[in-house]
Symmetry: C3
Subunit: 416 residues, 3 copies
């Protein structure tokens, strides 16, 4: 490896890190837009804390749990020690990973991914979860659960040995977040008024512009999420990933547009926004394996799934204000299976292995998240009181409103 190839490969991973970072603003904007005005400060606060918690715990524990190196217990568990090495005098920090990037580059790129799994949960449990119990959940979920299942594949664990394929994390990142979200919304119950007399009541988000900003920023960041997962600046591979990622997102919009129009006879912006995200999640597992045509089909199907899945979860009275389970769990599963159906690894054997990986990671993660939420619920409770829910979490948890300046009278009207 020449010095210049090392430098350009490393640079691309660092730039991809920056792009993945801004996905946290994407999630914050999207979730803020999809919740009600009275819970907006709360969701922003949670997203600020999640990125802080994610980075610090991944430094302290997560990275070494996810990439333990060397031999470890049957490919299921390993730990390389607390913290990450100090840079002084450590030539090993630079000469690392076949010379494509440095140790610190690897850490910071992976650290930006880690917090994502909690961000996905935060949207689903929004508008009724208590702040501190949620943050405690996040600390343990991102420190322990995410790195262990991540190691199974990306850390060279048992699923990797079996041939499971998940390029950039349809399962390892997105469905992991989705399973955590599912556990949370089962234990929390629906928001007050969401399901009345057997009917689903729409509770529209308070700002469609912020929701749209969030989706565009997520797509923007996804170029780093998928493109960086090439783990080098290899021209052919990164370019292919950019094409498949973009076309799948575009096809996801079209799929959600068509199916939601057929189902609801209207042009539903929130479905198209989630359709784009569904397409992105769907292509993530195999973004480097597909041609353009296959990526369009995968994204289109993911987009079609979105409105069906949203209605399905509502039928089960599983209340998810932002559609995170449909986007990240359902489309994450779809994208991981698609690796066995389309592209360079398609085949029945691969499809079986993909299903095994989905199931193993799903069972572990759901069990971990459910048990964790359950224990926290027993210890401190996880749901705010009915009065707090009606008043909104911004006032009750933060003594602050998201927006001011409407004047006293308009404000009094507004809180009614």
């Amino acid at each position: 490896m020449t010095e210049s190839m090392f430098t350009v490969n490393n640079l691309w991973l660092l730039i991809a890190t920056v792009l993945v970072f801004i996905m946290h603003l994407g999630f914050a904007s999207l979730e803020a837009g999809f919740v009600r005005r009275k819970n907006t400060v709360n969701i922003l606060f949670k997203n600020c804390m999640i990125i802080a918690i994610g980075l610090l715990t991944y430094y302290a524990v997560g990275f070494n749990l996810m990439y333990p190196g060397g031999d470890f217990a049957g490919g299921f568990f390993g730990f390389a020690g607390f913290g990450i090495a100090n840079p002084e005098g450590a030539a090993g920090l630079i000469e690392y990973a076949d010379g494509n990037y440095t140790y610190y580059t690897d850490f910071i790129f992976q650290a930006m991914f880690a917090a994502t799994c909690c961000t996905i949960v935060s949207g689903a449990v929004a508008e009724r979860i208590k702040l501190m119990p949620f943050l405690v959940f996040c600390v343990l979920f991102v420190t322990i659960s995410y790195p262990i299942t991540g190691m199974w594949k990306w850390g060279g664990g048992w699923l990797d040995a079996k041939g499971f394929y998940d390029f950039a994390g349809s399962t390892i990142v997105h469905s992991v977040g989705g399973w955590g979200a599912l556990a949370g919304i089962i234990l929390l119950g629906a928001r007050k008024g969401k399901y009345k007399k057997g009917k689903t009541q729409p509770i529209p988000g308070h700002s469609m512009p912020f929701a749209a900003v969030g989706v565009f920023l997520l797509w923007f960041g996804w170029f780093g999420f998928n493109g960086g997962s090439v783990l080098s600046a290899d021209a052919g591979a990164v370019a292919l990933v950019f094409v498949t990622t973009s076309l799948a997102a575009a096809a996801g919009a079209i799929g959600a547009f068509l199916v939601s129009y057929i189902m609801f006879k209207t042009y539903d912006l929130s479905m198209v926004l989630n359709g784009i995200l569904g397409g992105l999640v769907g292509i993530t597992a195999g973004a480097d394996l597909m041609g353009p045509g296959a990526s369009i089909i995968i994204g289109f199907i993911a987009g079609c799934i979105i409105p069906l899945s949203v209605v399905f979860f509502d039928k089960l009275k599983l209340d998810d204000p932002v559609g995170a389970t449909s986007v990240h769990l359902v489309c994450g599963i779809w994208g991981t299976l698609a690796v066995g159906i389309f592209g360079a690894k398609a085949g029945l054997g691969q499809l079986g292995i993909q299903a095994l990986g989905i199931a193993a990671i799903g069972v572990f993660t759901f069990a971990f998240a459910f048990a964790l939420f359950y224990v926290i619920k027993l210890v401190s409770g996880i749901r705010v009181s009915e009065e707090e829910e009606v008043k909104g979490l911004d006032i009750t948890e933060h003594e602050m409103e998201a927006y001011t300046g409407l004047g006293k009278v308009a404000y009094d009207l507004a809180v009614k």
Copy 2:
């Protein structure tokens, strides 16, 4: 070409692609900010669909129409076939374009440009056009019209042979969008209440913060739009383009500030915002040919043009809610002419050729867009009913509001 130069050149084009992508959020934010609250969901919806349509049709048809390669009909028309080649086994996908970038890199960079022409139209026709007829227009405009005129220059067609120069698309992208916008607003007519008793009534946009976010994001993305158009990471050329682009945008702000203050005796934020965009559009045709001084003059003049042009179109009762015709059409023409007046190619001969290119592309595009809108108008109508316009497109087309949570009474007041 060494492997490392190939990789870094290709990487810059891919990063520029990401920057151009986020311009679509810039347009969406800007247009959302400049329309009324009741039409915000509609403009966001259109911008989501435009990027999806743009990418998919450019994959299917547009790219091969714009870059047909080989011999074609007198430099006016050519087509390389549907779709783009599958990556497997195709060494030709990598060895491409003098080794600066891959085939897929070229496709995705150009694809991000393509949808821009429709986005420009969407702002101008906002607040009164029917959704589905608009989307049909977009499909045909971006699939057929944009690639054909683009090919005349960038695909090696007859204007390229004549020496016409348009570095990153003042004419090929921006004025093409502007001509489409002009055709649309002529056929649509003004918004209800815009011109009363011979006077122009201001209809202020509903959110100046979103408009400002849009302009900053567009400037941000323009570093990729112009910088990527170098088509390599050549240090001297990209650095120069960054300098000329930045200084022109800054000078555009100053120009619009001064002229709008003289004209209106107030500090008009919307003029300064459009002045920045005018400066950016103005420098785009010759961003690689100018020194810093010339780029300041070009941007300053573009900024000065903005308030004059906005008033001029209003005199003609051509109603453009976001000023897209002033920014993209008028400043696009100015920037293309400026290539013949300033910088490395200045000269009367070049000025004539620039005028020829502007005229040829203008006539073709305006005729195509006008005919297309006209046929759609005959078939299905293009304008919503007066009742729908008054109620707003968000409720009538999408059964959704952009903002909720003001409470029932405030809401009832708000919709009055």
Copy 3:
């Protein structure tokens, strides 16, 4: 230096330029979110003008004042002439700075930094300063004061000779802005109603979502601000800077979260947002010298400082609507001192030199800014009338509102 290393080094500086550029949107969003609704257009207008003024004056004068080259008056003052050289035929523009980047790259990267010092001031003096006097202040502050003190270190001046260290500008950029802000708020006085009967009255910002968007964008841009200050794409150095910058920001959030909870018994979003910024400002002086552990401590302390500092300034009745003095001045001083306490340069001698640099730049900048504001105050006044302050600057300076569309009755209620 090979061609490919030159190209990749230069490319990183240009990409860092783009990231620093978007910090201006970060500042604009943050400040817009933290001011009242009635002053939102005003703050957006100022931020548009500041970037324009900053770029143009830095081209005309600032760059040559900050980087005079050769011998100059005792390391205190020098000037290389107006404007920057024209590119034609100038091989020297390319062969520059040890072959790491071009002359134009250097200019545009530094130019993006320059405007930052005024942006910091704009937040602190918001909601009561007159527009034109403020813009006059900005022109002179960014053209003269910022480049002179910047030269003392980065231009090879006397502080550089003494061994003062400020990697990316905790002092040279952030505390310079902070001193300007302090001078401004002393001379302006507090906003009407901020301090009543010896008590501080909270005046909450009008949009927490915009404030949060601003902070995330600033963090995003800081990867370029600090990462680009490596002045090459050196893999080890840039990766380390990314790690220290990220961990300090995360620890800043935690520090502000804990201290503000202890002080106010609530989860205060604005403190956490400013805690992130405090952590970023704090690490900026030594981002390349610290290990991960030290960067966490530095960021954590900076975060802890934020709520204490905000309360301290309020005790002094120094009214700063966005907390700019706490973030940029106090944490800028802290970060510069931290270079003498932690990391590769720690030592009592270094600590003394750091203090000297802080004091020298502080005295010069505060004196310059105070005198400048004072003269402008004498000549034209700097504060709007009480009536204008009550009505809001959007209406009185810009004849425009930030938001429309609430309907006539709700609007009448809103302005009460």
